[in-house]
Structures are given as C-alpha cells and as structure tokens.
C-alpha cells in the first residue's frame, strides 16, 4: 500500500506548502508559526525515515520513481527518483530541517513566520535537488534554493549581511548559468532532459570537456573549491545560525552531489582528462585553506575555511578514482575514494552544522564571534564545553568520530593513486588538529578572561537537545559507518563501472 505513495513528492512539497502555510500565519502569532514549522519539519523527517526503511540498498536502480510530463512542448518531465547517493543526503536534509527549526526557536524574534517559512521552503527545494532526475527540474530546484538563502542571510544576518548575501547570490548565479547553457546544449543534441539517458549519451571528447567546464563552473562555486570559495566565509559570518547550518550542512553538498549525478557520469572522459586539475585544486583547498583557517580570528570564519578544506576531500575522493584506474589494474580502491567522499559529505554535514550551532550558542549570549572575546568558557559552561570539544575533535578527524572515517577512506584511496597525493591530503590531520585545538584552547579552556564570560549561563534543554542529537550522530557514524556505506555500495559500484567506459568512442572519434 504505502509503496505506491509519491513519497518523494511529499518530501518536496510538504515542506514547501507548509512554509507557505507558516507565512500565512502572519506577524502577530509567532508561537503558532514556530509550532507549525516544527510540526511540518517533524512530519517531513518521519516521511523520510519511512523512505529510508523502504529503500532497497542492494540495487543501483532508481527507486520511488515518479514520472509525469511537465513542459511537454520541450520534453521536460517531472521525473524524480533516488539511489544510494541521494538517500543519505535527503536524510541529512530532513534531519537538519528539524534541528534548525528548534535551533531558531527563541533566537529569532523578528518576523518569525518568514524565517521559519524560508527554512521550510529551502528544505523542500533541497530535497528536490537530490531527487530530480530531469535536468531542467534539477536546475530549477538548484537555482531556486538561492532565493530563501538570500533572504535568510539578508534579513536576519549580521552587520555586513547585504554585501555577503548579494555576493553569495551573484557568485553562485554566475556559476550556474554556465551549467544551464551546458544542459540546453545537451538537450539540443540528445532530444531529452533525462539525466539517466544522458549518462549513456555518446559525446566527443571536445564537447565533453566544454560541458565538464560548465559543470565545474556551477558545482565548484557551490562546493566551494579554491579559488572560487571567497563567498563562503562572508556568507557564513553574516548568516544567522540557522542559515549557516543549512549552508554548511546541506547546500555545499549540492555541489558534490552535482558532480556525482551529472559531472562524472555524463562527461566521464573529460573528467578523466581533467582529473589532475580537480585533484590539484582539492589539495590546495586541503593544505592552503587549512593554513588560512589557522589564522582566523573569527570563529565562524574559521569553521567556514575548515569547511572548504574538508570539502576538498569530497572532490579529491571523487576524482582520485580516475588516477587509480590509470595506475593500477582493476582499479581497486576507487570505490573507497567515492564512498569516502560520500561519507565525508554526510559527516561534514553533521560536524559543521554542530560547530555553527555551538558558535550560535555563544553568539546568542555575548553577541560576538571573535575568538579574543572568549576564554575559559569551560568553567562557566561545562556542558557546552564538552559538546564543543567533541565537535572540534571530530572536525580535526579524531578516530571514533565521523570526521575520521571519510578522511581516512579518501587518504587510503589516494595512496593507490600517488603517494604524494596521500601525503598532502594527510597534512589535514595536522592542520585540522592545529586550527581546531588551538581554537578550543583559546575559547574553551584557560583563564576566564572577562566578566561577560564569567556570567555566561550553560546551555538550556533546547540547546542540549540539538547538540546532543548531533553528538550521537557524529559518534554513531564514527564508530559504525557500515549502514551508511552499505546504503550506497551498489550505486557506487555502478557509477565506477560506468565512468570506466569511454564515451567518445561511441561518438565516432
């Protein structure tokens, strides 16, 4: 019975319509708006759990597919479906959907209904990105996510919010218009918008390279990769806590997902030809941005740079596969890289989300994000300090936490390709520990530096609930990543098998 439900449509449209309903509540009844938002996001989360339990992880085929014509004149379909790559990301989205509503419960006092509505609409759109199998539909969701995020940063952000949010919007918009041209070109060539059909559509190498550059323009900005990362620290610093959490935990993953869904399978030969470029950029992100993070004085900026460095592992893991195919017979270890990238995405979602929530807790109390304003927080906020230390250790890649698993898998894979790749990537273990622990030392431990810090109150039940949930998630994933890896195993194998088949031979040159 339940398997016939359009479960993906529910996951997309329930939060969006719920968001509209929250908007309709109006300015005067903030409590009702909060409650409604919580109910909607909790319902969405329940539906997503239902999807997870019904998901069949032994096959790489698309599941829960929905297909109906949308714009018939141009062969555009409303085509949804999920595989082992999308399900974990959708779960991450719906999970954080609930958390950010709770996290913004008391913090947001102005225009509550618009804040909650933006979060909910955003959630629906992001599920849409992760489940769209029609390229135009994908693009529509991909772009539409900019609007609620633009408003979130601009309306509830910090002092330089306008600069940050317009930079964020224009940066990502510029990247994605090239994607649009690439998609239209593919449509003109193939006569379909179906992403899955494009996977098998033969293209010459030259065309593939141009298309790949289009994909790269869009997704590298989103991830973000060095050197197009500069919007991220600004956006993070100015965004309200909820916005930062969504941005770090989910929106960045859209870029990685884009490579998995579009970039690698549609243009595998171009990806193989240009893998050196991506690997180089990833390693620069890991090493150089790691150093940049070290010198930050603003906690949010530090976490933002750390995010860029960690996302470098995602791109490294995805593209190292090509180097492995070239170097070793059979390409053992390639799967490790891709799976490591996926694990890293999920883990980074939990950790960076948690870290931004931690900073949010401090910011709500002292209205400062500067490291220098704090010191000795552990003595006044012991519970908070324990959570924060846990998350920063996870950020540094401590074994037993989720941060370790993804990075370790990617580094192991990198060894199969080239010792130096692995060496440089391995530097993150030092750099990550350095910037994480140094921040912990200055903020959490030491003498109580100011009267303001001495008066801090420890986290309340609501904050403890949010951070506690995330702590459990980080430890679970760190100690027992098998369920997550099993979920995507079939899809990873299929992807790797697919990208080893050269496409351009079919295109006739």
């Amino acid at each position: 019975m339940a398997s016939n439900w359009p479960i993906l449509s529910i996951l997309i449209w329930l939060p969006i319509l719920g968001g509209v309903a929250v908007l309709a509540v109006g300015d005067q009844r903030a409590a009702l708006a909060r409650l409604l938002a919580l109910v909607v996001s909790a319902l969405v989360f329940m539906f997503s759990i239902f999807m997870l339990t019904a998901f069949e992880s032994s096959t790489a085929a698309m599941q829960f597919s929905e297909l109906s014509p949308w714009i018939a004149a141009l062969d555009v379909n409303y085509h949804l479906g999920v595989d082992g790559f999308s399900v974990p990301l959708i779960m991450l989205t719906t999970f954080f959907g609930v958390l950010v509503v709770i996290a913004g419960w008391e913090v947001i006092q102005e225009r509550v209904q618009q804040y909650m509505a933006a979060l909910l609409i955003m959630e629906g759109l992001m599920v849409g990105v992760f489940s769209a199998l029609d390229a135009l539909l994908f693009y529509v969701f991909f772009e539409a996510t900019l609007i609620p995020m633009f408003l979130l940063i601009g309306m509830w952000g910090g002092p330089r919010r306008v600069y940050a949010t317009i930079k964020f919007f224009l940066y990502t918009f510029l990247g994605s218009v090239f994607l649009l041209i690439g998609l239209i070109y593919l449509y003109i060539q193939s006569g379909t918008w179906s992403i899955l059909e494009w996977h098998d559509f033969p293209l010459s190498l030259e065309v593939q390279i141009w298309l790949f550059l289009g994909f790269l323009a869009a997704f590298s900005v989103k991830i973000p990769m060095w050197p197009v990362h500069t919007w991220l620290p600004d956006a993070h610093v100015e965004a309200p806590t909820g916005g930062s959490v969504i941005l770090a935990a989910i929106m960045l993953k859209i870029g990685g997902y884009g490579f998995i869904r579009l970039g690698l399978p549609i243009t595998p030969d171009a990806a193989a030809a240009l893998d050196w470029l991506i690997i180089a950029l990833s390693l620069i992100a890991v090493v150089y941005i790691g150093f940049v993070a070290l010198v930050q004085e603003d906690m949010k900026k530090l976490i933002a740079y750390a995010s860029i460095a960690h996302m470098g592992f995602v791109t490294l893991g995805l593209f190292i596969a090509f180097a492995i195919f070239r170097n070793s017979e059979g390409g053992g270890g390639a799967a490790l890289g891709v799976e490591g990238a996926m694990v890293q995405m999920i883990s980074h979602g939990f950790i960076s989300g948690a870290l931004f929530l931690c900073v949010g807790v401090l910011y709500d109390r002292l209205h400062s994000r500067m490291i220098a304003d704090y010191g000795g927080v552990a003595s006044t906020m012991p519970w908070f300090a324990s959570f924060t230390v846990l998350f920063f250790l996870a950020n540094a890649g401590l074994p037993g936490t989720s941060g370790f698993v993804g990075e370790f898998m990617v580094i192991l894979a990198a060894f199969q390709a080239n010792f130096w790749y692995a060496f440089l990537a391995g530097l993150t273990m030092i750099l990550g520990a350095a910037y994480s622990l140094w921040l912990v030392k200055r903020v959490i431990f030491g003498e109580v530096t100011s009267k303001a810090v001495a008066k801090l109150e420890d986290i309340n039940a609501r904050e403890a609930l949010v951070l506690g949930t995330l702590a459990v998630a980080v430890l679970m994933l760190g100690l027992w990543p098998d369920p997550l890896v099993n979920l995507m195993h079939a899809s990873v194998d299929q992807l790797l098998e697919h990208i080893q088949q050269p496409k351009f031979t079919l295109a006739g040159n």
Binding site: P69, E143, I147, L180
Partner: protein, 481 residues
C-alpha cells in the same frame, strides 16, 4: 464591403467603435461619475476578448485567414497576442485608475487614447501588408505621443513627449523609406507576395538589403534596441507612471508581431542577413541595458534600461528563424509584458497622494509595511532576473535555447553572463524592501480592485512558472511547432 472581411476584423471594429463611443459619452458624463468611463473601457476589453475567442474563421479547419485583399490576417499568433493585449490593458486600466485619481488626471482622454493605441497594436499584430503595418504603427505611436504629454502641467512630460515624437517620426520615416525600397525591389506591398518575389530573385539584390536595413532600424527603434534606444529612458521617466506602464506593457507585443511579419513572413529569404543584424542588436541591448540599469536611482529609468535588455532577449528568439524560436520570442514578450505591468503597478501602488514613488528608496522597508506587496514585488523582480521557478526564467531558458539552436554560442554565453549582471539591480530592489528599515510608516491603502489585480499579477509570476507548460505550448503551437 463584404461580411467575411468585417467578421475577421470584428475585434478591431469593436475597439474602434468603443473608443469613439467613450470619446462622445464623456461629454455627457459629469466629473464625479467618470467611473462609468472606466467601466465602459473594461467592458470593451472583455467583449473584445469574447469576439476574438469566437474566431469563426477556424471552423473550416484553416489555421489562418486573410481579409481586405490580403492586407489583414487572422492567425493563432495574432489572436493570442491580442488576447494578452486586452488582458494586460485591463490591468493597466485598474492600476491607472487609482493613479489618475490620485493625481487629478482622471479624464476620459486617457481611455480614448489608449484604446486607439490598442487598435493600432491590434492592426500591427494582424498586418499582412506594408501599408497596414505602417498604419498600425502610426496609430499606436501618435496615440502614445499624446499620452506621454498627458499631464499638461509637467515639463518633464512635455519634453519627453517632444523627444519621443521627433525621434519616433524619424524612425517611422526610416521604416517608410525601407518599405519603399522593398516595394521597388519586389513590386508588391503584400507580405506573401513579397516573399514569393524574393524567392524568385537570384539574391544579391542591393536594394532589398538596403530596404531591410531600414526596416530593421525602424523595428529596433520601436522596440527600443541599442543603439536606437535613446528615447526610451527619458520617455519612461518623463511620462506619468500610468502611461509608462502602458507603453512598457502593451506595444512591445505589437513590436514583436511586426518584427515577425516583416522579417519572417515578408523577408524570410533574407534570413541570413537579418540574423546577423539582429544578433548584434540583441547583444548590444543586453549588454548596455543591464550595465546602465545598475547606475540608476530612479526606478522608472532602471526599468527602462531593463526593458532594453529584455528586448534584446526577445530578439534572441527570432534568430534561428524557426517555429520554436518564434514561439520562444512570443512567450518572452508576453511574459515581459506581465512582469513590467507588475513592476509599474507596484510603483503606482506606492505613489502617495500627489507624489510619484519613482525613487528606488521609496521601496525601503516595504516588507515591514506590508509583506504581501513586498512579496509581489520580490516575485516580479526575481522573475525579471530570470531566477527559477519564476516565469521569467522559463522565458530566458527558451530564448537561450533558440540562440543555441541558431548556433550562436557566443551570444548565449554573453546573454547569460549579463543577465547575472542584471540580477544585481533586481536584487537591489529586493534588498531595499527586505533588508532596510522603512522611511515612512504610512499605511498603503488601495482600492480592492487594485489589490486583486496586483495580487493576481504577482501570483502569475509564480503560477505561470510552476505551470509553465500551457502558455509555452500555446505560444509554440501558434507557429505550428
């Protein structure tokens, strides 16, 4: 005159009659009851729509029919464009009534002149010979010249009208000159016969190409394409907002129809020649329109430059010379008209008694004053910027596809890059509304019909985007795609 001719042109005759009736009726209606005139104009539009929809000429299975010795044509494209002209003019009337009352300009001449302009638009849409095209163009232009100077006291208005008149006449002259050359080269005024005549020639006819150049100049002027755009910002700024609203929304559809009829129906064989000219015009318009709009602090001027860039996008659809391309172009022009009606409607909405809200700063903090109106304006702006899932995105998507169909990758890339530049000034409006504190706390009080119209206009931005299929297929099928 036989009745078939009359029947085919029935909507035109109806509008002509009603324009005259309103002109005379006004003499007998006292000032405080002038609302009746508004009502009559609205009813004229509704009946015009009904008459157009009952196009009996389709009954024998033909997709098009000509009348008056082939100088007038009824076809699906014309009908769709006319219906949207009525619809948008109806919105214009609702917005304008509020404005004209506020500014003590509520006179029947506004309705008469705009109905005559509509008649010109309809003639232009249905024109099938050079003479009809010229007739429709002049009727539209002369009525709008007068409308621009509608506020007799306003110096800016008179100046703008004068400028518009002088430059417009020159453009009409160029067009006429081009037409005479085409006539000289082909010996016919009828577009179909011109087309046949050209196909029998060996090509390389210099006179034809010269004629084409002048025709393109005339079209470019009417659409406001760079480098023939000089009049547009001044006219938009100088005219009363109600008139700017009209100029921005309605005649552009006729401009598209004129371009299609002249260039494709008449001079389709010169496709290679005009494709080059149009691609350059399109590129220049998109680049200059978007760059100049950034520097504006007056929203009317900003929207004027944005119009220029939108018209550049409309041209992109014409480039491949295929049914798909024309459909895309037509879709764009309809969507553009709806968007600009919404944008100027919002400017009128904020115009307090006697003061036009023409500065961008008047939009400050609108979200806190009234979040629904802010949301409407935000939807219009996002739509103009081409952000999904608003309807403007689908319009841009279709014309970019046309440019790629025509093999002009460079044009498509420049167009999207400059649409990102354009996004900046649309975002600035949203920034003012959402991120800034209001300057004035005065409540926004508009009549209920205004509120309904602007709400509908805003919802259409989203609704036509999510359910874009129907309008796209209407436009595509108008050209038999």
């Amino acid at each position: 005159m036989d009745t078939t001719n009359m029947l085919l042109a029935a909507p035109e005759f109806w509008i002509l009659t009603m324009a005259c009736v309103i002109l005379i009726a006004d003499l007998f209606i006292r000032e405080e009851r002038r609302g009746i005139i508004h009502l009559m104009a609205m009813i004229s539009l509704i009946f015009a729509a009904i008459i157009t929809l009952r196009g009996d000429y389709l009954s024998d299975g033909l997709r098009l029919a000509t009348a008056f010795n082939g100088s007038f044509i009824r076809d699906p494209m014309g009908d769709v464009l006319k219906l949207f002209s009525y619809f948008i003019l109806g919105m214009v009337y609702i917005y304008a009534k509020f404005y004209l009352r506020q500014f003590r300009m509520f006179r029947a001449e506004f309705y008469t002149l705009s109905l005559f302009a509509l008649l010109g638009v309809m003639l232009l849409i249905s024109a099938n010979s050079l003479v009809t095209i010229y007739l429709g163009l002049e009727l539209t232009s002369l009525s709008t010249y007068a409308l621009v100077a509608f506020d007799r006291e306003s110096k800016r208005g008179s100046e703008a009208a004068m400028k518009y008149f002088v430059l417009g006449s020159m453009a009409s002259g160029m067009l006429l000159y081009g037409m005479s050359m085409i006539y000289g080269a082909t010996g016919s005024l009828d577009l179909q016969q011109i087309s046949v005549a050209i196909s029998h020639q060996d090509g390389g006819n210099v006179m034809l190409v010269f004629g084409l150049v002048f025709l393109v100049v005339g079209i470019a002027f009417k659409l406001g394409l760079v480098p023939f755009h000089m009049w547009l910002p001044d006219v938009y700024e100088g005219a009363p907002v109600a008139v700017t609203l009209f100029i921005a929304a309605v005649p552009k559809m006729a401009g598209f129809a004129m371009a299609y009829r002249l260039l494709y129906t008449g001079l389709g064989d010169l496709h290679g020649d005009w494709q080059q000219m149009l691609s350059i015009l399109a590129l220049l318009s998109i680049v200059l329109g978007n760059l100049a709009a950034i520097a504006q602090s007056n929203i009317k001027r900003m929207l004027a430059y944005s119009t220029i860039s939108h018209m550049g996008f409309v041209l992109m659809g014409l480039l491949p010379g295929t049914a798909d391309g024309f459909g895309a172009s037509m879709y764009y022009v309809i969507v553009y008209s709806l968007m600009s009606a919404g944008a100027f409607g919002m400017v009128i909405l904020l115009s307090a008694r006697g003061v036009e809200a023409e500065q961008l700063d008047d939009f400050k903090g609108l979200n806190q004053r009234n979040s629904w109106y802010a949301a409407i304006m935000a939807m219009v702006m996002f739509s103009m910027a081409g952000v999904p899932v608003f309807v403007g995105f689908f319009a841009k998507w279709l014309v970019i596809k046309s440019a790629l169909d025509a093999g002009m990758v460079w044009l498509a890339i420049s167009a999207v890059v400059f649409s990102v530049v354009g996004a900046f000034y649309y975002l600035r409006v949203i920034k003012l509304m959402y991120f800034d504190e209001p300057v004035t706390g005065s409540p926004i009080d508009v009549p209920v019909d205004f509120r309904a119209a602007i709400s509908l206009n805003g919802i259409m931005m989203l609704g036509l985007g999510i359910f874009s299929s129907s309008l796209i297929s209407v436009c595509m099928s108008s050209f038999g795609a």
